[in-house]
Amino acid sequence: MKEAAKGSRPPTRLARRLAPLLALAPLALPLLVENQYYVHGILGRILVYTLLVASLDLVVGYIGDVSIGHAGFFAIGAYTVAVLTAPPSLNGDSAIGFFPQWPFLAALALGVVLSAAAGFALGFPALRSSGPYLAVSTIAYGLIIYTFINEQEAWTNGTKGVTLAPLRLFGWSLGGNRYLFVVYPFLAGVLFALHNVSRSFWGRAFEAIKNSAVAAACCGISRAYYKVSAFVLSAGVAGLAGGLFAELDSYVAPNTFSYNLSVEFLIALLFGGTRSILGNLLGVTVFVFLPDLFASFADARLMVYGVLLLVVLFFFPEGVAGLLRRGWARVAGAGSDPDRAALAAAADAVDVFSAIPRRGGPALVLEGVTMRFGGLTAVNGLSLTVPQGTVRGLIGPNGSGKSTTVNVLSGLYPQTEGRITSFGHDLGSLTTAQRARFGVARTFQNLQLFHDLTALQNVLVGLHESFRANLYQVALGSPAAGREEWKARVRAYALLRFVGLEAQAFEKASNLSYGQARLLEIARALAVSPGLLLLDEPAAGLTAAEIEAINEIVRRIKAAGVTVLLIEHHMDMVMAISDEVTVLDFGRKIAEGSPAVVQADPAVIEAYLGKHTAPAAARE
């Protein structure tokens, strides 16, 4: 009890308490430095561009889609602020006079909203396509917005651009170096929020979708919701950056927002390193400072930049920030995670099966399920009933339809005919993610781990449904969201302990051995709190000792009341731990019953070994 109380609060560190003080330091600059060039010109630009690159990072780094159209969102924010705040007196013979004069902050807010709406529109192509197909859509979006502001004399004053008045608030000038007072709080606030979001279940959902959209769906994560959300958030932040940019030079013109800007910021992001606020800052700093450093050959700036990027891609694929991170890890020593002891202590009090739903009815009923791919019938009129709390083995020779059955059950393939019920609920109309939330979890024969995430984070993705905090609480780092995150981490640690992987909790999934990866698949599936667990060849490629460990885990899962459907090729494993076995051949059920009955069934022997024909018999 004492342990649980101690474990209910996340550990705090001194650095975290000092950070806010340090974060205020740049605000002193306008008071101390008169020089406009470095504070307003260079630092102001770095701050605004960092916001833009951070917004790009959400899409590129976390969701894994390449966007070459963020200049468009930047332009929407900039032009919304420009046309709504520019005084007509500074923009003679233009239509600016027809627009209402809004206060800066109101115009900025509208810019963010409009840009976010444009991001919402871009989210849909992103659901349908990816890679080079999506990249071209983003370019098209960017160029459409660019063409519009370039050509629309009436709305945007065309190529002449819009001149803004220097910003004043309550009669106090915020131009020049003082503009930092406006930009910096926005930057600090947004980066703080993005940092919190990226380290929460939101950020993990983004990365899960990037690493394996199928596995993410099987953890109950709606790809559509999180992908569109990422685009909306990203576009909103880019719009904010644009709005702040408009007042930086008090002038905007279409040429700034061309295709080249999108490409250059993508390069700045990759140069600095994705998924890192430090990387965003470093990339932008180099980008802004470079022409200054190479003033004598400023014309060759892009050449230098292109070569630099190639060198970075060549030698440090994780960018400058990745390089620093690796250097830091070497200095600080690897594996020194301060949370481990606290997690291990708190995990003692956790029952990993406490959230398993208790419902009535059989765990799984299939009635005449058929799955056809074109002319090929992979599963043919399959009917079976799996009672609660049992382990059902599903075996059959290669190509007999076992894996197809699992894919139909988890909703990856819609069955051609038939009905699937689980605990009395028809699963037919549910998506993969909804089935996971309902309590049908699975593992994958060909591993589908989130390889960028640690083992602990992989299990946390499985716990996705248990999070209740909304986006605002997460972004602001509310204590409730922090407590919830800590409880989930403890639970995830307990699950890793359950499968015997606690030593690898902070190891990246891509560094795990094959056997460990199989165990992690099971831990992640259990995190979903399933009433029905589908194990798709959990022992494929494992040694006898590792198989024995999995047998033991399956027995304990069964003892906790979870129903298991086990697809396996290892006969001794299936026969040892199944209560009943169903045998498939060519998509049809050919036998069913206790292991002993099935083993003696002539049809099963024939399917696996072939028929005794006369010549073979004669040879004996």
């Binding site: 894994g64 390449v66 070459i68 849909f124 192509p125 349908r128 396509s129 890679g131 080079p132 197909y133 990249a135 071209v136 859509s137 370019i139 098209a140 979006y141 160029l143 459409i144 063409t147 370039n150 050509e151 199928v214 295709y259 080249n260 490409v263 993508l266 390069i267 990759l270 050959f297 014309d299 060759a300 700036r301 892009l302 050449m303 930049y305 292109g306 070569v307 990027l309 190639l310 891609l313 060549f314 694929p317 894996s403 894919n407 990856l412 994958f444 060909n446 589908q448």
Partner: protein
């Protein structure tokens, strides 16, 4: 009559897009990579042709040979220094940035070492339009006939070679499955290098072809490369002949919009078609629909 002339001019422009799009298709089919520097390789072809033909007075055939050589070498360099290293990285789309960066280096190099101005290039066939259908009929520039003829010839020739020759079969095998192809004794690295070299040479010729109907400058390839990219996606990345359809859609929508709406908005319909098409057919008109196995 006027509409016919518009369609003709749009088709000629569209063929240039198709030619670069075909270049994207060639490397994509062997290595699943689009060489985003192709627009700037086209620029390199245009600039090389201009320097040789206009500045140095080299005969057109000599200029063409020079352009082909420069293009082929540029393709090899991009593959060796941008694509190959980025393939070793875990990041799935590092090659997008690597090839974009290579293109930026090419463009900026042309600006620094050649010129930042626009130049008019003479057509080897003369700049006077031919009058078809009598005096009031449509005016056709000989260069436009050359563009359409040469582009079609290149696409048909390469596609035929691909399906008829042993080397073409090797390319198709690498496209289907790189690992298995190399187990069958095909040197897949050489096939991929060849595809980069060939596609870049084709793009460079595109630069030489388009130069007389536009202007030669260091920036002539940037937007053209993007539009060719759209064309290749509309046609479907896996389809060689699809790039012709994609190029025509972009080229025609451009010339029609320029005439009936405004030159400023000429790019918009093509992009709108692209976005709408991808929503309905995520892998383009003639692209392969991929089923992902779990």
């Amino acid at each position: 009559m006027q509409t016919l002339q518009l369609l003709w001019a749009g088709a000629a422009q569209g063929m240039i897009y198709a030619l670069v799009a075909f270049g994207y298709n060639i490397t994509f089919s062997t290595s699943k990579i689009l060489n985003f520097s192709l627009g700037n390789v086209l620029m390199l072809g245009g600039v090389t042709g201009f320097v040789l033909y206009m500045t140095r007075g080299v005969p057109f055939a000599g200029a063409l040979a020079g352009v082909l050589a420069v293009g082929a070498v540029a393709g090899v360099l991009v593959q060796k220094f941008a694509v190959e290293p980025s393939l070793k990285k875990s990041s799935q789309y590092a090659w997008i940035l690597a090839t974009l960066a290579a293109g930026i280096v090419l463009r900026n190099a042309a600006e620094v070492f050649w010129s930042t101005d626009d130049f008019k290039m003479r057509s080897p066939l003369g700049d006077a339009p031919l009058r078809l259908f009598g005096a009031g009929g449509i005016g056709v520039y000989p260069q436009e006939i050359l563009i359409i003829g040469v582009s079609l010839a290149i696409v048909v020739a390469v596609e035929t070679l691909k399906s008829r020759t042993l080397l073409g079969k090797a390319v198709l095998a690498v496209a289907e499955d790189r690992e298995t192809a190399s187990l069958m004794g095909i040197d897949q690295r050489r096939i991929i290098l060849l595809s980069f070299s060939l596609s870049a040479a084709i793009a460079a010729v595109g630069g030489l072809l388009v130069a007389p109907i536009t202007l030669v400058s260091a920036t002539m390839g940037t937007v053209l490369g993007v539009k060719a990219y759209s064309a290749s996606i509309i046609g479907g990345l896996e389809s060689g002949y699809g790039t012709l359809v994609g190029g025509l859609i972009i080229g025609l929508s451009e010339s029609l919009t320029a005439r009936f709406v405004s030159t400023g908005y000429k790019d918009i319909p093509g992009f709108v078609i692209l976005i709408a098409l991808l929503l309905v057919k995520p892998s383009g008109l003639f692209g392969a629909h991929v089923i992902r196995k779990v």
